[in-house]
């Protein structure tokens, strides 16, 4: 199963690069959904050969990250009436370069961290991958203007963290795991509402134009 | 020195009695230089006699300082005179530090004369008062620099000790004493409102200092003021004379004559100065007073470095 898991990780990295170059919001949402599905499956594939498989967690994860959240985002997109990220802060080709650099950087950093004892076999690859996903998420939040894209970026960031958790760690207690999931759900829900409210109030969802609150220079 | 008290007493009474002569002497000298006959030598005595009989007119603006100021000035000037060595004899009332009291008594006189001038509400008197306050503050600097010199020179804290302490040996180191005397002469001219600081003869109120301040006095009050200013002239003359002439070279009564003669001579000197120069513009008065300070400081430097005052 290890090769399969490596393949999943590879898909993760590719999805990051795809996210960097895609301007259509729908496309971005699909990428997030793909990542969500992968995250749902990976604990199972990882656990094969190790023993316990938490099917319930898998189902919740899969349905939440792979289906519900993308749906929420899609709905918000429709409501806000925005389809494309037209003028990002950093252009698409440059973004691709940056994400590539970030991936390399993640490998560099994790190379310097000796793996903890008792980590799964996959950890050597999973750690840099999850670092890369986290950084890509952060990069997306910074480099894109639309509030919705920022939510997507945040979700990618969150996925990176989950990936790390799934690939490197044993599980949290179930209740904590559920708490984390609930938090993410509510967060995206509230963010969605906010994006909707912003689009209604400002008739745009450009986060860079939300800059009325500042210290005025004299 | 057992006969010093009577000598002092005689000199003191002479000062009180003869003081009004000084303005007469000055006027006579000035008249001489101007080729006029001038007022009588005893003119001030007659004036005082006349004023004592006259009705007193008080400004209706006054709040009372005007009335009390002449009494204060007269009293404090007489008290100051008591501290001064007279006829080269120590004052019987002397005590260490009395020199401070001496100058501060004169200062208090001036303070109240300024207040009295302001009390009338007259703009001319205000003008005079402002100038008096300003110039006398600057004169204080010169006075206390002279004092510092005297303390250094005589190692005494009493006025009598300082002035009589400049004995024969002071003639050996004459330069500092002369410089200090010159400074003191300038202070005397300033304090007594003589040319070149002020012109008592002027008839234009705008240019007056002391005369402007007493515009509203009349009767006995004016008499007291005039008498006080002549006594003040005497005090300063006597101060300089005691400083310049070393004591204890003649017998008691000859010294008395010398000192009174010296004061008269200082009056003549003032007269000569008044005849030979004009009043300075007000802007030039502060530099002149500061030069008096500089003179005293130079004297001190002389004393410290050239006369071996310092280890």
């Amino acid at each position: 199963m290890n090769q399969m898991n490596e393949l999943f990780l590879g898909i993760f990295l590719c999805s990051c690069l795809m996210l960097a170059v895609s301007s259509r919001l729908l496309h971005c949402i699909r990428i997030v959904a793909l990542q969500g599905v992968l995250l749902g499956i990976m604990p199972v594939t990882l656990a094969i050969g190790h023993g316990d498989i938490h099917w319930s967690v898998m189902i919740i994860n899969l349905s939440l990250k792979g289906i519900i959240l993308p749906c929420l985002l899609y709905r918000t997109m429709l409501k806000a009436g925005v389809k494309r990220e037209l003028e990002p802060v950093i252009g698409y080709s440059l973004s691709a370069g940056v994400v590539l650099a970030l991936i390399l950087f993640s490998f560099f950093i994790s190379g310097r961290l000796s793996l903890p004892a008792g980590a799964s076999d996959l950890a050597g690859l999973a750690v840099p991958c999850s670092f890369a996903v986290v950084m890509t998420g952060l990069f997306t939040v910074i480099a894109r203007k639309k509030a919705l894209t920022q939510v997507i970026g945040f979700l990618v960031f969150e996925n990176g963290i989950t990936l790390f958790g799934a690939a490197v760690m044993r599980e949290h207690p179930l209740i904590v795991e559920l708490g984390i999931l609930l938090d993410v759900l509510v967060l995206v829900f509230i963010m969605g509402i906010s994006v909707f409210q912003i689009s209604r109030e400002f008739s745009h969802i450009d986060a860079d134009r939300l800059n009325s609150l500042k210290e005025e220079a004299r | 020195m057992n006969n010093s008290l009577p000598v002092f007493a005689v000199n003191f009474i002479a000062a009180l009695v003869l003081a009004p002569l000084l303005p007469g002497i000055i006027n006579k000298v000035k008249a001489f230089f101007a080729g006029r006959k001038g007022p009588r030598l005893f003119q001030l005595y007659s004036d005082l006699g006349k004023l004592l009989k006259k009705e007193c007119v008080i400004s209706s603006t006054s709040g009372g300082i005007l009335r009390i100021a002449p009494a204060i000035q007269l009293t404090l000037t007489v008290l100051a005179a008591l501290l001064l060595p007279m006829g080269f004899k120590n004052s019987p009332l002397m005590f260490p530090g009395d020199v401070l009291l001496f100058f501060y008594l004169l200062g208090t006189c001036r303070f109240f004369s300024v207040l009295a001038a302001l009390d009338t509400g007259s703009s001319f008197e205000g003008m005079g008062a402002a100038r008096e306050a300003f110039f006398s503050a600057l004169a204080e600097a010169a006075v206390f620099a002279v004092l510092a010199f005297l303390v250094l020179f005589s190692h005494s804290w009493t006025l009598s000790g300082m002035l009589t302490g400049i004995g024969m040996d002071s003639w050996i180191s004459f330069t500092p004493v002369l410089l200090v005397s010159l400074a003191m002469l300038l202070v005397m001219l300033a304090e007594n409102c003589r040319v070149p600081f002020d012109d008592p003869e002027t008839h234009l109120e705008l240019t007056m200092i002391h005369e402007a301040m007493i515009l509203d006095y009349s009767g006995a009050d004016l008499g007291a003021i005039l008498y006080t200013s002549s006594l003040k002239l005497w005090i300063f003359g006597s101060f300089i004379v005691s400083m310049l002439i070393p004591g204890n070279i003649l017998s008691g009564w000859q010294e008395t004559a010398l000192s009174i003669g010296g004061v008269f001579a200082s009056a003549v000197l003032v007269g000569i100065v008044e005849s030979s120069m004009a009043r300075y513009r007000f802007l030039k008065v502060p530099p002149l007073l500061i030069s008096a300070l500089v003179l005293a400081i130079v004297a001190m430097i002389f004393q410290l470095f050239f006369n071996g005052g310092i280890r």
């Binding site: 310097r112 961290l113 000796s114 903890p116 004892a117 008792g118 980590a119 986290v134 952060l138 939040v141 509030a147 920022q150 945040f154 960031f157 969150e158 990176g160 963290i161 790390f164 958790g165 490197v168 760690m169 044993r170 949290h172 207690p173 209740i175 904590v176 708490g179 984390i180 609930l182 938090d183 509510v186 967060l187 509230i190 963010m191 906010s194 409210q197 912003i198 109030e201 400002f202 986060a207 939300l210 800059n211 009325s212 609150l213 210290e215 005025e216 004299r218 | -």
Partner: protein, 463 residues
């Protein structure tokens, strides 16, 4: 049982309030809930209580947690009482742009308190993270109670920056867990501490995890340079919420940092303390410059919170834990009073701009007097307990750092007092507003309590 009721009481109140849909009911429910909540908190130290969720997962109030819990409770009660009188007046003035129903507002406020309670009770890093994230979620809608472009923007920034910050903390938590080489089944504070104390950890992973957790919770706490969202959120929120955000929420994040600091093994103490010191000092410096000539008095208070979080971080960095706790409690009370007073000013003048607030001493005499008192207190004028904590801090920091801290505190004082006095300055053209001034009693009582605390501390220190 007590612990559970502490968590569930606000939730019940929230449900009642939410479904009643009436502002009056909401106000009453809020006040009653707060009273009950405070009462339970008061009983808690007498009857120590634990709630076992699973065999490894418990909820309990340990000393540090209890301090923060107490700070929350003593804020919740006055804020809810203030809210009782504030809400109708606010409805009167701002009915046109309400972002939600008052009942919903009260409900979310209670949920918010519940999540903060969970933070203080959590005994496990995972639970802690869940609770802190939940506080963000519960507080974000509150900011947008008065819907305006500004509040929406503030909410968005708050939501996004804090979520990322908390995400980092989650990442950090996982790294920490990994650093323990999976030796422990539980991730409770005590267990982790036992492990680290005996050296069963991977230093590199531990450091990375520590840094990420530190950054995440410091962001929530408002330490510079992660404070950027704070002035926006705290100034745009309605005053009861501002008071809770500044007075309680920041403490909760701080508690997380305290937990983190607690598990640091002795050979890494210098490493951890360095972060506390650096970010504490940096916050102090940043706040100092932003307070000077601040145009918005609520923002000024927000920056002052940044400053005080910096001071508390410094106190932790210099290992003066007792005084850090004292600072937490005093700062919460004073800052709450100031925000409530700012609420009075806001209601009466209708603006947050300091330049437009003139003649406060004539218009709202009581508010004005306590406003000045509060500003002096927050700047550490005795009898404020902050004076003593700052004194201890300077003493611990040594002469060079101590002088720098004092200089920055002076700069902050200059800035704050200038603004406060400009508002206070009498103006003949401004008439009195006696109705608006009545609300100053609650902050007044809080300030009196703070002075009493300060006097007690002084008594104790002088001996």
């Amino acid at each position: 049982m007590l612990t559970l009721s502490l968590l569930l009481l606000p939730v019940c109140g929230a449900l009642i309030s939410f479904f009643s849909e009436k502002p009056a009911v909401a106000r009453w429910v809020l006040m009653i809930t707060a009273t009950g909540y405070t009462a339970i908190c008061a009983v808690l130290p007498i009857h120590p209580d634990q709630l076992h969720l699973t065999e490894t997962l418990t909820l309990a109030a340990d000393p540090a947690g209890f301090v923060v819990l107490a700070a929350t409770a003593i804020l919740f009660l006055p804020v809810s009482v203030y809210n009782f009188f504030w809400m109708p007046r606010d409805l009167e003035k701002n009915a046109a742009h309400l972002g939600m129903k008052p009942s919903t507002f009260a409900a979310i406020l209670m949920i918010f308190v519940s999540t903060m309670t969970l933070t203080t009770l959590a005994q496990d890093f995972g639970m802690l993270w869940v609770a802190v994230e939940a506080t963000t979620l519960a507080s974000a809608p509150l900011i947008n109670y008065h819907r305006s472009k500004g509040s929406l923007e503030a909410m968005w920034k708050y939501l996004l920056i804090c979520s990322i910050g908390i995400g980092l903390a989650l990442f950090g938590t996982m790294l920490l867990s990994a650093s323990l080489n999976f030796a422990s089944a539980s991730f409770g504070f005590a267990a982790v501490k036992r492990l680290t104390a005996h050296g069963f950890f991977n230093p590199a992973w531990f450091k990375a995890g520590f840094v990420l957790c530190f950054a995440g919770y410091a962001l929530k706490m408002g330490l510079a340079p992660f404070h950027t969202w704070l002035p926006d959120a705290h100034s745009e929120a309605p005053v009861p919420v501002s008071a809770m955000l500044s007075g309680s929420l920041l403490n909760c994040a701080l508690l997380a940092l305290l937990r983190l600091n607690d598990i640091v093994p002795s050979d890494l103490e210098g490493f951890a303390a360095g972060y506390f010191k650096f970010f504490g000092f940096f916050s102090l410096a940043v706040a100092a410059f932003f307070i000077i000539r601040q145009k918005d008095y609520k923002r000024m208070l927000a920056y002052s919170s940044v400053e005080h979080m910096g001071l508390i971080a410094l106190l932790i960095g210099f290992a003066a834990m007792d005084y850090a706790m004292l600072h937490i409690i005093s700062h919460s009370l004073i800052k709450m009073s100031l925000f409530l007073l700012a609420g009075n000013i806001l209601l009466s003048y209708g603006t947050r701009e300091t330049a437009l607030v003139k003649g406060l001493s004539g218009r709202l005499p009581g508010t004005a007097a306590f406003w000045l008192t509060g500003i002096l207190f927050i700047c550490g004028t005795p009898p404020s307990p902050l004076f003593f904590t700052e004194l201890v801090l300077v003493k611990e920091a040594g002469i060079a750092a101590g002088s720098a801290i004092l200089a920055l505190l002076l700069v902050i004082f200059c800035g704050m007092s200038q603004i406060a006095l400009k508002m206070y300055a009498p103006d003949k053209n401004i008439g009195a507003d006696p109705a608006g001034d009545k609300l100053c009693r609650i902050p007044a009582i809080a300030l009196a309590a703070v002075s009493a605390l300060g006097i007690a501390v002084a008594w104790n220190m002088i001996g």
